[in-house]
């Protein structure tokens, strides 16, 4: 059970960090070519 919780913490952290990348990209804004 502890293994499952700790692995979920690891995967959950990286999933949230992937969302952080998306948010930071929103901050950076679209490339000129995409506008």
């Amino acid at each position: 059970m502890r293994d499952v919780i700790l692995l979920a913490v690891i995967v959950g952290f990286f999933a949230l960090t992937a969302l952080y990348v998306r948010w930071a990209d929103h901050l950076v804004g679209p490339d000129e070519d995409d506008r």
Binding site: L7, V9, I10, F13, T17, Y20, A24, V28, D33
Partner: protein, 577 residues
């Protein structure tokens, strides 16, 4: 500080000065590659790399946007963490286990997996009595290579972001990762491992050997592939020792020469990156300014730690204890020091290992005087930019440089530019996110730990020293350093999990905004310098940059330092009076 320690410092400066140029230019050639896409060593390393690319399904000619680059870093790191966690849990049923070690407990496996993937190498276990040789060699040592390569890749991507003009991409993470490992770290670590073997560092696949001492007690003499792990542990600014005593153990650091080589190895790539930077942006003066700031801060902190430890403990002066350095004794604050190295050299090692993100130790930082012990703490709180970990130090210093340019722009009322790139709200917001993540994890978890019963029961000493133990642990974790103040029992569920989370935040929540800055700058058009452009190659800029580094850390951490080492020093002086 004793004459031998000062000579050692001088030798280090000369060695670094002589070798960082060629190494830095080699790194630039590996990361920059010519217009024809060729890099040095293609004939030797190219076939090996092509096999890796084919096996991983990577197209080496395809560059990535910053988001794809960051996504690749995260994908590689989550796979590494889960894989290492599984290996540690299952080591008891796997081969390469001559001492019959059982599986590592879940929370220690979590802490260790996160620790080695984030290049922290905080160790909540004793290496020789916990890990199998398979775990050490294929788990921890492999992560020593690739976690260092991840940091260097991110630095290369940020430099490309600054150097390129109207580019949508910042390189390929997979190419950077493979090239860093194959063309830089593996060859250098091989040479270093052979040197360490020549000094007496052990390298074998034996289990522990029982030996009867003269007191008729059976002592367990450890065996294992120590030299190969030691080389990358120092070179990759990892710091996780094969043996529990780390570089204080005679099997892991047998001679003063091996001690000097260990310090040199942990400093050389971070300093060489300033040459890499100057070469890649085609203005070597830019790199020299960053080198001056890094070198100045490293020398200052090394001398501070060395002098503090050589001067000894003021409370012992009152008792008439002779702490002077002489031909008969190493002198100074001898507690927790190896007599082979002495207090001065131990201070230089402590400053170097915390100015980089290494965390290896050749003395007990817990036994340093409050002033001497504050140096490693402050080094880490500066964000480890003196000169910082492999890659991560360069990233931190470059972001500080952009911030310094922004502050200078505010002072003179002009739009700030750095190497022809306008620094605007986007970059400053991202740099703020970069700067806030580490203190948030550090101070947040440290504050929770000093008010939570389960956490305070792990503290080994009362008063300000006990507070410093907790502060040091989270400073080390959140900065991916890995060194520890002793006395704190960090093997409890609270500390293994919260320190693990602090390491994750301190690594990946800094990498993301750094790569975002790279992506944002890469696509900008360079503007020519005008009379109003603030020159970033002058000593004035070096001074401003040094001030920004110190002031940001000072404003963030001074209150916490005041409660720990500062009040401990004042109380020690009071006792001495």
């Amino acid at each position: 500080m004793s004459a031998p320690a000062l000579v050692q410092l001088l030798v280090l400066v000369v060695l670094i000065g002589v070798t960082m140029g060629p190494l830095g230019r080699y790194l630039a050639a590996v990361y920059g590659a010519g217009d024809d896409g060729r890099a040095p060593g293609d004939r030797v390393f190219g076939p090996v790399e092509r096999v890796v690319y084919r096996a991983a399904g990577v197209d080496p000619d395809r560059e990535q946007r910053w988001t794809a680059y960051a996504g690749s870093v995260l994908a590689f790191s989550v796979a590494s963490t889960v894989g290492l966690y599984g290996l540690l849990r299952l080591q008891g049923v796997l081969p390469g286990n001559p001492d019959g070690r059982g599986g590592v407990s879940p929370t220690i496996a979590f802490n260790t997996a996160v620790s080695f993937v984030t290049n922290t190498n905080w160790q909540s276990y004793a290496g020789e009595s916990t890990m199998s040789h398979l775990s050490q060699a294929t788990g921890l040592t492999v992560q020593n290579f690739v976690s260092a390569a991840v940091g260097m890749s991110v630095a290369a991507a940020l430099i490309r972001g600054i150097a390129r003009n109207r580019s949508g991409t910042i390189g390929s993470f997979w190419v950077d990762l493979v090239r860093t490992t194959v063309r830089i770290l593996l060859p250098l670590a091989t040479v270093a491992a052979l040197f360490f073997v020549s000094q007496g560092v052990i390298q074998n696949l034996h289990g522990a050997t029982p030996a009867a001492t003269v007191e008729a007690v059976v002592q367990s003499i450890p065996g294992g592939p120590v030299a190969s792990q030691l080389a990358i542990k120092q070179l990759g600014t990892n710091g996780g020792g094969f043996l529990n005593a780390n570089s204080a153990h005679p099997f892991e650091n047998p001679t003063p020469l091996s001690n000097l080589a260990e310090i040199y190895l942990l400093l050389i790539i971070p300093f060489a990156f300033t040459v890499t930077y100057g070469t890649m942006v085609r203005d070597r003066r830019q790199g020299r300014v960053l080198l001056g700031v890094m070198m100045g801060l490293w020398l200052a902190t090394s001398l501070l730690a060395g002098f503090a430890e050589t001067n000894g403990n003021p409370a012992l002066d009152r008792l008439g204890v002779d702490q002077s350095v002489s031909v008969e004794q190493a002198g100074g604050n001898a507690e927790g020091k190896e007599v082979r190295f002495g207090p001065g050299a131990s201070g230089v090692f402590a400053s170097s290992t915390t100015g980089t993100s290494t965390g290896a130790v050749d003395a007990s930082h817990d036994s340093f005087t409050p002033r001497g012990g504050m140096v490693p703490l402050v080094n880490m709180m500066l964000g480890e930019v003196t000169p910082g970990g492999v890659g991560s130090g360069m990233v931190g210093m470059l972001l500080y440089a952009i911030l310094a340019v922004f502050i200078a722009g505010l002072m003179v009322g002009r739009t700030p530019e750095y190497l022809g790139k306008k620094v605007q709200a986007t970059e400053v917001k991202l740099i703020m996110l970069y700067l806030l993540a580490m203190p948030l994890a550090l101070l947040g978890f440290a504050a929770a730990s000093v008010v939570t019963g389960t956490a305070t029961s792990s503290i080994g000493d009362a008063g300000p020293h006990g507070f410093t133990e907790v502060l040091y642990a989270f400073t080390s974790a959140a900065n991916n350093n890995g060194s520890a103040f002793g006395s704190l029992d960090a093997t409890t569920d609270w500390y293994t999990t919260t320190l693990g989370l602090a390491m994750l935040v301190g690594r990946f929540l800094l990498i993301v905004p750094a790569l975002a800055v790279a992506g944002s700058l890469a696509r900008k058009q360079k503007v020519p310098a005008t009379a109003g452009t603030f020159p970033t190659t002058s000593p004035l800029f070096g001074g401003l940059l040094t001030g920004v580094v110190i002031i940001v850390a000072g404003l963030t951490f001074f209150p916490a330092l005041a409660l720990g080492p500062i009040v401990e020093h004042l109380s020690l002086s009071e006792v001495a009076r």
